[in-house]
Symmetry: C2
Subunit: 191 residues, 2 copies
């Protein structure tokens, strides 16, 4: 109520964000398997139990990181789509932005789309930013296409496939551009 408790709440929110950022940086630097509650606590210069006063556990921290990623991804996809001069190239631009995001921040991408999660996808409780990111793909298809949601879903899935396989070393990371071209031209039907 008082100014004091307001200040405390503010500090608490800052620390909350500090934990998320630290977890994200640590994961990006050394992978999620290196993100232990002990190391994370040391990094934010608090003891372990403090983490549990902010989050329900390690999974909840990863969830918070993923949510941050959804918002950033949606923003990048949106800007890529709007920046593409001709609409026929929009899907290509969005696809490249998606792949860039995945390769530039592999740990973040992993938390969002690979690791087990309880975030709801395609559901009433789906985070708005996640839905917004998906809608960027949908917007790349003609509004009168009754199957545009399906097209968007499959395009996204295909991009996820090459992103995931490239990250884990199962396909050479060098050919992503060629694969993107093929996916876009074949699925969007714009040769």
């Amino acid at each position: 109520m008082s100014a004091i408790s307001e200040r405390r709440e503010r500090e608490r929110a800052q620390r909350h964000q500090l934990i998320i950022t630290a977890a994200r940086e640590l994961a990006e630097a050394e992978g999620w398997e290196a993100v232990t509650t002990r190391r994370l606590a040391e990094r934010v210069e608090y003891s372990q139990p403090v983490l549990y006063s902010h989050f329900d556990g390690k999974d909840a921290i990863m969830r918070a990181v993923a949510l941050e990623g959804f918002a950033e991804l949606a923003d990048r996809l949106r800007r890529a789509r709007l920046a593409s001069t001709e609409p026929s190239r929009a899907l290509h631009a969005v696809g490249r932005a998606y792949l860039d995001f995945a390769s530039e921040q592999p740990a973040l991408y992993q938390a969002m789309f690979v690791l087990p999660t309880d975030v709801k996808f395609a559901h009433a409780e789906t985070p708005a930013s996640l839905r917004a990111g998906f809608d960027e793909f949908v917007s790349c298809f003609e509004a009168d296409n009754p199957r545009r949601e399906l097209f968007a879903e499959v395009t996204w899935s295909a991009l996820h496939g090459i992103a995931a396989l490239a990250k884990s070393g199962r396909i050479p990371p060098s050919g992503q551009e060629e694969r993107l071209d093929l996916i876009v031209t074949r699925i969007a039907g714009t040769p």
Copy 2:
């Protein structure tokens, strides 16, 4: 050298396979996170250190399970391709066989294509069965298509994308058939 040591070697090989099978069954029943060295040892009715006399650690066991999966998958894909009467439907048949494999044995699929691995893909040391599985996709495209390897790679990646996202609950598992249709018709170009 003697018959006795031969028998011992035979028993050892049996136990080796027993460990792999037990790990696979346990993973399929309760997920890989439930496959601990203790539980696995209990299941094969030996003590923990015995596992380490056969494998270099838990990762090596998962690797052995994955290798078994590669052979089985290649076999299923091959039979699906050969069973399809018209060549134009071959890719569809192989794709469905791939998705069936992934959904019927999710833990096995995960060890093969999702979890971190040091198995070499698209490399000189690539296991023959893995290469054989990939070649089934390649064979679905015309031999005179100079980009058939790329087409196969992208088709496989797209199928992996929908398989992985469906398994982790990120797309509804119910629409796989529709997605398969779209991938095959758009990429193979056979409407």
